[in-house]
């Protein structure tokens, strides 16, 4: 019986905190994808697309992919604990990157709408 207490799987967080956080990242990535698709659709509605529109869509996709990469990296660091049963917490760089992608999306959206 004493052996199971030494086993890292036995000290697993009963609140499933890392799993919940990983799923929160997944949900957020999906929300980001929906916003990117809607912005893309906005460009497609323009009757005669020029080079500007192509550049806007390219930047849009780039912002979406950057967010996806940030989320993926974070989900991977969550899966590799710093020590037994202690997952790594998010650094400010990841938070800033995710927010920057959102702001770029707003900027591109405003450029498309106006």
């Amino acid at each position: 019986m004493a052996d199971t207490e030494e086993d890292p799987a036995a000290v697993r967080d009963p609140g499933l905190q890392p799993e919940r956080t990983r799923m929160a990242w997944r949900r957020t990535t999906l929300s980001c994808a929906v916003a990117v698709v809607l912005a893309w659709r906005q460009v497609l509605l323009i009757r005669e697309p020029s080079g500007t529109e192509v550049v806007l869509v390219a930047l849009l996709v780039l912002a979406g992919l950057t967010f996806l990469t940030a989320a993926h990296t974070r989900m991977r660091t969550l899966a590799t604990p710093a020590s037994a049963g202690r997952p790594r917490t998010m650094d400010a760089r990841t938070a800033l990157l995710a927010t920057a992608c959102t702001l770029v999306l707003v900027g591109l959206g405003a450029a498309i709408v106006l």
Binding site: Q17, T28, A35, R41, G109
Partner: protein, 136 residues
């Protein structure tokens, strides 16, 4: 004087944003579960931002009969709300993280109620405009 204090707090926040490692100098590392909960709150605010941004595009795309100016005003209002939400999400995350490290109370905020009131007003305004059929 509240104003200089607020400016100083804002400057401290901005320094923290661009030198993220500094947060480790403050206080002691909290229980990782609290940090993860703070991260999920940050993500929930980010999703709110994406929802507002998507809503802005939706107003512009799915209400084509609306007067051009009215439509653009609603769209820009929703996009700006999304940007505000995104900036606020990271600022709130930093402040909560620092409060937990110092063992202080979590920051109180009137932002959720303001956002709720704003979204409510916008929804009523869009409903009224659509019902009145204020078309071009």
């Amino acid at each position: 004087m509240i104003f200089p204090d607020r400016m100083r707090a804002l400057a401290a926040d901005l320094r923290l944003w661009f030198a993220p490692a500094r947060i480790r100098n403050e206080g002691s590392t909290p229980d990782y579960r609290f940090s993860l909960a703070n991260e999920r709150t940050f993500l929930a605010w980010l999703r709110t931002a994406f929802a507002l941004i998507g809503g802005g595009f939706a107003v512009d795309q799915f209400l084509p009969s609306l007067h051009q100016t009215v439509r653009t005003v609603f769209t820009v209002a929703l996009l700006a709300g999304g940007a505000l939400c995104a900036v606020r999400s990271v600022s709130h995350w930093v402040r909560c993280e620092r409060a937990m490290r110092r063992g202080e109370d979590l920051p109180a905020s009137r932002f959720p109620s303001l956002l709720g009131a704003g979204v409510g007003l916008l929804a009523v305004a869009i409903a009224v405009v659509v019902l009145l059929g204020w078309t071009r």
